[in-house]
Symmetry: C2
Subunit: 470 residues, 2 copies
Amino acid sequence: MKKLFLAIISIGIFSSCQCNKTVSKDPKTSSNTHLQDSIVIRAVFDTALSDGKGYEWLRDLTQNIGHRLSGSPQAEKAVAWGEQLMKNQQFDSVWLQPIMVPHWVRGAKETAYFTTKNTKTQVAICALGGSVATPKNGVTATVLELSSIAQVTEYGEKLKGKIVFFNRPFDATLVNTFEAYGGCVDQRWAGAHAVGTYGALGVIVRSMTGSIDDFPHTGSMGYQKLPQELRVPAAAISTKAANALSAAIKTNPHLKFHFQQSCKTLPDAPSFNVIGELKGSEFPDKYITVGGHLDSWDLGDGAHDDGTGVVQSLEVLRIFKANNIIPRHSIRAVLFMNEENGNRGGKRYAAAAKENNEIHIAALESDAGGHTPRGFTYDGNINKIALFKSWKKLLAPYGLHDWEKGHTGVDIAPLKSDTIILAGYIPDSQRYFDYHHSANDTFDKVNERELQLGTAAMTSLIYLLDQHLD
Amino acid sequence: MKKLFLAIISIGIFSSCQCNKTVSKDPKTSSNTHLQDSIVIRAVFDTALSDGKGYEWLRDLTQNIGHRLSGSPQAEKAVAWGEQLMKNQQFDSVWLQPIMVPHWVRGAKETAYFTTKNTKTQVAICALGGSVATPKNGVTATVLELSSIAQVTEYGEKLKGKIVFFNRPFDATLVNTFEAYGGCVDQRWAGAHAVGTYGALGVIVRSMTGSIDDFPHTGSMGYQKLPQELRVPAAAISTKAANALSAAIKTNPHLKFHFQQSCKTLPDAPSFNVIGELKGSEFPDKYITVGGHLDSWDLGDGAHDDGTGVVQSLEVLRIFKANNIIPRHSIRAVLFMNEENGNRGGKRYAAAAKENNEIHIAALESDAGGHTPRGFTYDGNINKIALFKSWKKLLAPYGLHDWEKGHTGVDIAPLKSDTIILAGYIPDSQRYFDYHHSANDTFDKVNERELQLGTAAMTSLIYLLDQHLD
């Protein structure tokens, strides 16, 4: 603690009085604790905003390595990049945690068009991650447009020989775009599985975005235990093309749709989670994890999903060091591998924690983009909800007003127990699905200050967790 | 009121019970009022998010007319555009309010460079609005770098024959970028006035942005009552060039800076505020104004400053009509002319209100960009602060948590009195000064949903003002 307060003095925020006291949770001194917390948080924001490193790290990751699908050469490079960066930052320990990851490859750029009597209209599609290829010359068939998975059973045998087109759009009236995504993503994830037994020839899914543009958005899908011969190719179609196709079907119900893709799943490939740690001074055997995922889809350069979460997590540890904040617990930055299509990294990290009898008291994930911070979600130890929510008053002055129970992060979810606090970083959601899983998710969409504010908010939360948990 | 509630019923949100009651401010029924308000606000957001028109209106204004500096042909076109749009929307009354506006023109594109013994470095500048031209062949002189207006007196006669370079940057640690702007803008506004009496030859001001890029940001400046012969040319320099110049001065204190600009002030030109009104059902002679400014600087296309405020204000009245909300008071959308360099529109609107004995009970301005809403500022009638703040609970679910006393808007400020409520729309501020007054302020920087959410927040506030004020 002493070094922490020396740090406070050294950065010129506080020159005397309370600083040499030990932080106490005695209610009588709670306002004092609150003051000390607020001073550290201010220092954290000052460092992030005036001397942030994450934006240039993100530029390097996205522009010099690019997209990083599990099993790809770029993912391998990203692992080395993360490890080297942690070493350069002189974290106390840095290591790689081996895993085996799914290895799906897209192959040649997909093509698609639909034809009516007189016209042929090219449309933008991309294979969904995990999909099988079409036959070499593609699939050509009439289209059955549906708006829900439930309709599959209703139409039953009518699906035979058809391309099924799931076209339920985002509900624009939902203020939080993640809710709109949650209301549609079953079409992408489960569409191909649902139609497989009815003899459909393929699946086309409206891209998971509320924006009307010409970017198809990929993402994971699964056949579950469907036999190989019932697995049909599945692709996302841009929202602009989806609207055009839907309109064309209304006037030409028998129009033919054609698409062609050559994606395939190779044998699992070796990869790694990248882990860096600052050793705790009081509870070195208790852990707090902060992470994002290093892998990305293979369109765009994975800037908002999840390059921002990666560099923010690295920044948390750097900012602790830069302000001489000595953590009480051991704090780990984890760059998880394979969030997008398997979560092998998250599962392995939790399994290893269990095998090693590690006590994990808290984990925070940033995997919702790098926009202006709005708050944090919370899950896990319900006895700590009041404590967690009490921190709102410390971060509301920085624009973090949303503190709510909810989904926190795919990578940290396997750590969930009754004793751990899981937290998810909530940035502003309005632009996120304009980019998510598409060629539009590129570095230029990230605003430096928005990224830095998120970094500071995350660092502040990790500081509070470290200070106020035993 | 009846029509309002019929509207609620017709949009299917509410099918019975409370809806047919008259809104009452009796505390016993305040929860009922709250419920009714929340239902209308939900309907307003639904309309804005699922059937918003403002984004396409903004595309039209910015891409088909472009920038709209007072006195320019584009400003004239924008007046006609606004008038026609209001007529198309069938507002109850639409009219133009004549004013005379300053007419400053930029002339040929400015040029600037600095030279050391071996090199000549071109830099990006733009004349400040209201500046005089340089002599035909430009100004060439050594540079004195200052970080504040206060230093001018300190250096005094040392300014003679120099180009004074005001280079105090934005304070990056301020979370609200408007505070950073407020902490620097005196250099732009008052720099040339300050140096005039000391024989300086020109003024170069670091652009008013925290972003390090190559866009110079213009903006207004004033010579006040300085005699013509002491008025020196003033220009903004991009932050990237400002950093380069500052670094170069450190190694070459005698380097020469050259700049050339041919701007001039023509005689005042005729123009207009554009006003559209919905007639009040209970208090037709009491007015609530919502506005933005139609003029813009002559770089970029004036999208965030203030095309977004213009289309949002127009949308407020359209959304009232679309939901059959009959206002109790008369509600005006005002597209103010000349906010940027004179505020003649705002002053004339307030003066005309006084001349006509109009009772103005509230005014709202949107002139801080079109990003995601964060809240509203408040000024004017202090007796209504509690009422104003009580609405936070209705709009916090839509992300509006900041309800604070503060600056509301340049255009509506002349309406200020002890009886009027003035309000300013607060969007997220992080990106605004990346664009503000520069060639970077273009339509593509506006996100449709962010714009729509702001529109809905503004419409909701106007609804609440109309419902709860007498």
